[in-house]
């Protein structure tokens, strides 16, 4: 028995030395992705590994990424590179001095400027965006719209008019799904952010995200009220407010494709397409479903685009890390990654024909031509607000709690989280 234990220990030690002792040029990268996304990321790395001979070891950490990164940084062995959960987190790490500045990567010159700016802290670039999602989209069934004589609304009054028309025809205009497990409420934050951009403009939006204006500010209140015009109206939403609170965001698209349709429109980001196709196999993009831009509200601010993106930063400064960061910013890497997942590339040299369907291509076009682009605000706020009280605030508002109470609650937590 004793001998066996000793032999086992020696064997395992030898094994670990064999595995870790002779590592040649290698970069470790911790990512949040799993499943199909992980496969796509690994296939995007293959050309780099073949060209340079550098071995890229991908570590799929999943949703615990923030915890794992924080622990490993504190313990002194962070991975060489890591996907950042969001730009807010990147900024936090950069300010702590644990990230390596990536200024001067040649491929960054081809990246859309808005995304380079988003990854810039104190005039240094600390991250590389490899793709983006566009959030300011409304999904609908063009055939149904045509047969009912509905047209795409170009302004808020036209949108409300369309809603009333659908109600008069005996239908329900919207399908909204706010449920998302522990993250329930986030789909509503996208609504409020989009409305905020359209009613208050990008500058005030930035102030709101940075908590330079309080949550009780009239502009924030107005954004919630616009959202409430639709979300709190039981006639406008499939299943009423109860259905809205109980429907998973991934299932919210399904009523659009039943016959007769349970609902006619759903506001959601580009990534929802994979959910639609999975639950309703056989639908053809551009024919059975399509997108239009969430309409402008105030003519002054037009139609700014709201979105999110996938961001990678570096913890160690080696030539291999820089080479990989530069490769990830390249059109070559982003073409593989975006083609596989229907994400939108950030590198402007990416060939538009890579997009798997006309809907994704349309979204890419919209993003490229955006007059203004803003990152998902809830992702930029401190987690206690952006992934906490803002989410629950949306749920509270939809479940009927008075708006002033909801906003006062979020403001109380924001004061603590921002420390001002």
């Amino acid at each position: 028995m004793k001998k066996a234990v000793i032999a086992l220990l020696i064997l395992s030690l030898v094994g670990t030395i064999a595995v870790f002792g002779f590592a040649a040029k290698k970069v470790t990268i911790a990512v949040i992705w799993s499943g199909k996304e992980l496969d796509a990321f690994e296939s995007a790395l293959v050309p780099f590994e073949n060209q340079t001979g550098i071995d890229v070891v991908v570590e799929s950490v999943g949703r615990d990424l923030p915890t794992v990164l924080a622990t490993r940084i504190a313990a002194g062995n962070p991975p060489d590179m890591a996907a950042m959960p969001n730009p807010g987190q990147m900024k936090e790490f950069a300010n702590k001095g644990v990230l390596v500045p990536l200024d001067g990567l040649s491929n960054l010159a081809d990246s859309a400027k808005a995304f380079v700016d988003l990854a810039t802290v104190n005039d240094h670039v600390y991250g590389v965006f490899i793709s983006a999602d566009l959030k300011s989209l409304v999904w609908y069934d063009p055939k149904v719209f045509k047969s009912h004589g509905y047209t795409i609304p170009k302004s808020w009054p036209e949108l409300i008019e369309l809603c009333n028309k659908i109600v008069a025809d005996g239908g329900t205009p919207w399908s909204i799904g706010l449920e998302s497990g522990a993250a329930s409420g986030w789909p509503g934050t996208d609504w409020i952010e989009d409305i905020m951009l359209r009613t208050a403009g990008p500058d005030l939006y930035d102030k709101w995200v940075n908590h330079e204006i309080p949550w009780t500010h009239p502009a924030v209140k107005k954004a919630f009220q616009y959202f409430g015009q639709i979300a709190l109206n039981d006639k406008y939403v499939y299943g009423g407010t109860t259905g809205e609170l109980l429907t998973n965001f991934g299932d919210a698209g399904n009523p659009l494709f039943t016959n007769p349709p349970g609902a006619y429109m759903m506001k959601q980001a580009t990534f929802i397409q994979s959910f639609i196709k999975k639950s309703n196999p056989g639908l053809v993009a551009g024919e059975d479903y399509d997108v239009f831009v969430f309409p402008p509200i105030s003519p002054v601010f037009g139609t700014p685009m709201l979105g999110a993106g996938d961001l990678i930063s570096a913890f160690k400064d080696t030539p291999e890390v820089r080479a990989l960061a530069n490769y990830l910013a390249s059109a070559q890497a982003q073409e593989i990654w975006c083609k596989a997942l229907g994400k939108l590339a950030v590198n402007t040299k990416v060939d538009p024909s890579i997009y798997p369907d006309p809907v994704t291509a349309k979204a890419a076009q919209l993003l490229a031509n955006a007059s203004a682009f803003r990152f998902d605000g809830s992702d930029m706020m401190p987690a206690a607000v952006g992934a906490g009280t803002f989410w629950s605030g949306v749920l509270d508002y939809v479940s009927g709690i008075p708006l002033d109470t909801v906003l006062a609650n979020i403001e109380a937590s924001a004061k603590e989280a921002y420390g001002k």
Binding site: V19, V61, T71, S274, F275, N280
Partner: protein
């Protein structure tokens, strides 16, 4: 009348127990049914709808299991889980048995205090220890290695296993040890010939506890081993089947059953000890 009285309470009792068992099992049954359904059905209707026409076999599929089992890295992850779990169960139980015996029957100064300290360690949340221990592991080059995680799981498991085994071993009759001493048995002989065989029920239940805890662990493995495919256990591989937005969760249901298979087997093969072991040390005398 008497007969009725005798029958009635038992049937009520049984009805209540069966009712509770059914409620308890409901989520697992739902998971099992879902794991055999097609992804698009999962998205549109609840799992209970299969019971409206249970013998329509076209609504079932093995596709989820096929994907999960043939999926790259699942076999490797199963082996990794075994490599982690077997030593991480064996070492703490062996060490705890030694320690429990010493705390219960050997006389040395500070015995009670030391035992209290070990038991007091139960209240320390293991999350608090991640950073300092990871630092030590980095210094010893143990992070990312199997011996590292064996050490971690062994030390995290020891307080509870020592406590449980101590309660059982302390309850063995003193006469046994006295007669063993008279017969000239050494401490080691007493331990291996008397204590171990007599403690089999308690040891079996501690083995089940520790095995299931290590087998189901995700966080400790993630921190000390990392998510690299060469070392990642089954829990990490299962978690990585699901997309980062929760899509593909029909795969999760199938993967959950695959990863449940071994713990269930261990539990059912040791469960007759388990019931005895839980009661172990609860009543003295």
């Amino acid at each position: 009348m008497k007969l009725l009285k005798r029958i009635f309470p038992r049937t009520t009792l049984h009805a209540v127990i069966i009712g509770i068992a059914l409620i308890w099992m409901l989520p697992t049954v739902g998971l099992l049914v879902t794991s055999f359904r097609l992804p698009q059905d999962v998205a549109h209707t609840g799992w209970w709808t299969v019971f409206s026409h249970p013998f329509n076999f076209t609504q079932y599929t093995l596709q989820n299991y096929e994907t999960v089992i043939t999926k790259n890295g699942m076999g490797r992850a199963f082996i990794n889980s075994l490599i982690i779990t077997v030593p991480a169960t064996f070492f703490p139980v062996l060490l705890a048995a030694f320690a429990a015996y010493a705390f219960a029957w050997m006389k040395f100064p500070g015995r009670k205090t030391l035992f209290m300290v070990v038991v007091a360690l139960l209240v320390i949340p293991l999350q608090m220890t991640f950073i300092p221990i990871l630092r030590i592991f980095n210094w010893l080059h143990l992070s990312g290695t199997f011996p590292g995680i064996w050490l971690a799981h062994t030390s995290y498991g020891l307080p509870l296993t020592v406590y449980l085994l101590h309660n059982f071993i302390a309850g063995l009759p003193r006469d046994l040890f006295d007669s063993a001493a008279i017969d000239g048995a050494s401490t080691m002989q007493t331990f291996f010939r008397l204590v171990i065989p007599l403690s089999v029920p308690a040891i079996a239940s501690v083995v089940i506890f520790q095995f299931i805890w290590v087998w189901n662990d995700l966080l400790v493995a993630l921190i000390y081993l990392g998510g690299f495919r060469s070392v990642a256990p089954l829990t990490l591989q299962v978690a990585s089947l699901v997309g980062s937005r929760g899509q593909d969760w029909e795969l999760l249901t199938a993967a959950a059953f695959v990863s449940m298979a071994l713990p269930l087997f261990i539990f059912f093969s040791l469960q007759r000890y388990f019931v005895r072991g839980i009661l172990a040390g609860s009543v003295k005398g």
